[in-house]
Symmetry: C2
Subunit: 434 residues, 2 copies
């Protein structure tokens, strides 16, 4: 039986998971693939720590070159993460003619087109199912399962840490910073959770999904991104009263060749399936012109779900290696010559509905002043509720708008926040009425 030799670079959590699957399910993988996958070498700076898995010491090396320069290795698995040295290592593996599997979302979202060019030059495949939504096979669903469809929109809950915190705030109450602290203690948040809570990790993943869905080559830097650390229990509570849940949502739409791309906390109706995605789970909601709305749900992170995606890529590329073919499915869904440059719509031009919370002193005429300013900026009010509950002399006015242009809303809020009766910066959360 044909053997596929692989080298693992980066032996952290996901790398350990990959080795676990390749061992425990080796018979099954052989029976599916018709070839066997052999781990020839594992490189990591730390080859001393106990990963809770028995390992032949000869398998380990601190030298990446030992893998990249080994002509018997067909496929390199890059699990270092981040931009460098991952990028240099990945590109040198490709330049040596090795296929690559990676879960590196930052790299794909920042330098995807560069990787694609290198892969084309050397006629190798790059698999990256593990870069978005862990165990959910969403990359292959978009590239292959839904290949008959013009994708109209992609919405996603793509960060488990952020979703865990918002779910906990919703279901059990509590302030953002207290729950984040608890999440760190329980291992649901990393020591430095910045990328997760400021939305950047979600933006990385959305950039990849957008490129797969529309055949484009954007980078994550083009995506408007807001995090969740400013969300207060008051907002969660009031959203609930209005029949909404607050989720950190990745949003992308293709309308008339223009692409909308943004990541921010969002009110979504409690009647929508996406609002039921709780805790560390991820979900992607896609609308295709033929298939209609679909949703893909599962574990977005963790050792074994991420390793599931990486190993499915190893198997997928091995099927090509066995048949001596490559680029059977284009890396970015569309054949390279048909990839389109698109202009992402500026956030200022995005039209949506808004949830606004004003913190004002409790006196007559305040609402009239606020609604007057909104009106002057073409923002019409859907509903408004003034809470009598006073916190330190301040009351909250909750307001939902009809559809309005982002730039208009910003201008209005700038004006409103300068009113002497307004005590704090107005809270703005966008609404998706799915």
């Amino acid at each position: 039986m044909r053997k596929i030799n692989i080298g693992l670079i980066g032996f952290g959590t996901v790398g350990t998971g990959v080795l676990k699957i390749l061992r425990s399910n080796s018979k099954m993988i052989r029976e599916r693939l018709g070839a066997s996958i052999v781990v020839k070498k594992i490189a990591d700076l730390d080859i001393k720590s106990d990963r809770g898995i028995k390992i032949n010491k000869g398998l380990l090396t601190t030298s990446v070159e030992e893998i990249i320069n080994d002509p018997s290795i067909d496929l390199v698995v890059e699990l270092i993460g981040g931009f460098e040295p991952a990028k240099t290592i990945l590109l040198s593996a490709v330049n040596k003619g090795k296929h690559v599997v990676t879960a590196n979302k930052a790299l794909l979202a920042g330098y995807g087109i560069e990787l694609l060019k290198a892969a084309h030059k050397r006629k190798v495949d790059i698999g990256f199912e593990g870069s978005v939504a862990g165990g959910i096979p969403i990359i292959s669903a978009i590239k292959e399962g839904l290949s008959a469809n013009q994708i109209r929109f992609v919405l996603g809950i793509l960060n488990g840490t952020a979703n865990y915190i918002l779910s906990k705030m919703t279901n059990e109450g509590g302030k953002f910073k207290d729950i984040l602290k608890e999440a760190k203690q329980q291992g649901y948040a990393e020591k430095d959770p910045t990328l997760d809570i400021d939305g950047l990790d979600t933006a990385h993943k959305l950039a990849i999904l957008i490129n797969m869905a529309y055949g484009t080559t954007i980078t994550f830097k083009e995506i408007y991104t807001e995090g969740i650390s400013h969300i207060e229990p008051l907002d969660i509570e009031f959203a609930r009263e209005l029949g909404y849940r607050i989720k950190l949502l990745a949003i992308s739409r293709q309308i008339n060749g223009q692409v909308e791309a943004r990541v921010h906390p969002t009110l979504i109706p409690v009647t929508h399936l996406l609002s039921k995605v709780e805790g560390t789970y991820n979900a992607i909601f896609i609308d295709g012109d033929a298939a209609g709305p679909s949703m893909f749900y599962g574990k977005g992170a963790g050792m074994m779900p991420a390793a599931s995606a990486v190993v499915s890529d190893i198997i997928d590329i091995s099927r090509n290696i066995v048949r001596e073919i490559n680029h059977r499915v284009p890396m970015f869904s569309y054949q390279r010559e048909f990839l389109k440059k698109v202009k992402i719509k500026n956030i200022k031009d995005v039209v949506t509905r808004y949830y606004l919370r004003f913190s004002v002193v409790d006196c007559t005429g305040v609402l009239s002043k606020i609604s007057g300013i909104l009106g002057r900026h073409n923002i019409s009010i859907h509903s408004v509720i003034q809470k009598s509950r006073r916190v330190k002399g301040v009351v909250s006015i909750f307001l939902l708008t009809h559809e309005a242009r982002d730039a208009d809303v910003r201008k209005a809020l700038n004006e409103i926040d300068r009113l002497s009766v307004v005590q704090d910066k107005t809270m703005l959360i966008r609404i998706e009425d799915l």
Copy 2:
């Protein structure tokens, strides 16, 4: 640019949808595939009816042979449905060396292994994504996206008509037969909805999912199947009070090499995502040993969702045709030589929890008699509620059991239903506490 010539056999709803997609999305498909798909011929007994789509008359024929014997046709799409003549036609296309795409679940679920043998002999591919859950790419998710996983269980809501009726009974109330009548008028149920409401259509689909998930070759005849026509508003209502929804569920588990396979109405907790799958939507909930639980949700039927799956198969096989390869992914997930014969667990040996509704005369000592019989058959009671509401002198006792063996429950009910105080056959619905 390379052209792939296809022939369409069966020009009904789905066939029309396929033609619509191939026309409206032809540019996109070319840009994804790097080849163009040309419909060379369409065969149907009826070539007169208006399908609401412009068509060159030279494209139509009543003769299947014109397609099968055309050496320029690379791929045949079979959309006749049912066993015959579909089976003969499909096999003759394969025997002529043509790849086949089909949405024929009955054929796959009844004669899958025969089709596989023929495809192997002639080295052609057979795609059947459209046979299960329409627009949801579940076949490829199991065969490829989750290929690193031992699948532990597959649960599915796989029939839109049955789910529509049960959802409507739950959300708006009403009797089964009235809602079925309404569903027929509104086009949500076929004129003869037998296959949908008696569970057989679901069993067809479950047989296919089981074979894909475990690498086996069972047929739908081995699956224990119950329909939904006996479900009463009383059951829906009481399930709701207990925190459950009733769904027609396809259930399959692999435990110690034994496979459990059954289709029946099932109480599932309202807290579980599957219970939120409403109306004509389908969903498949899968547990893999690495990826963990995932759910795939979308439109399970209808012209365009089904056509989305068929066209994705056409594209997938075309990628192989262009590269002159075949059987890149084995038809039943596992390489043919590793397909396993499994024994489906007899329903009598299945252990689960039960919802039981007894219709009894309102007198003292009834519950004691019933619980005595249950106890003698090793069935222990989880909870019991006796409703005071009397209908024609009969009251209902609702009872949930702990886990019990099916055979024991049957024996106990046989005994109970012979009691003089019992006025009607006891209602039994199984529970899945997900």
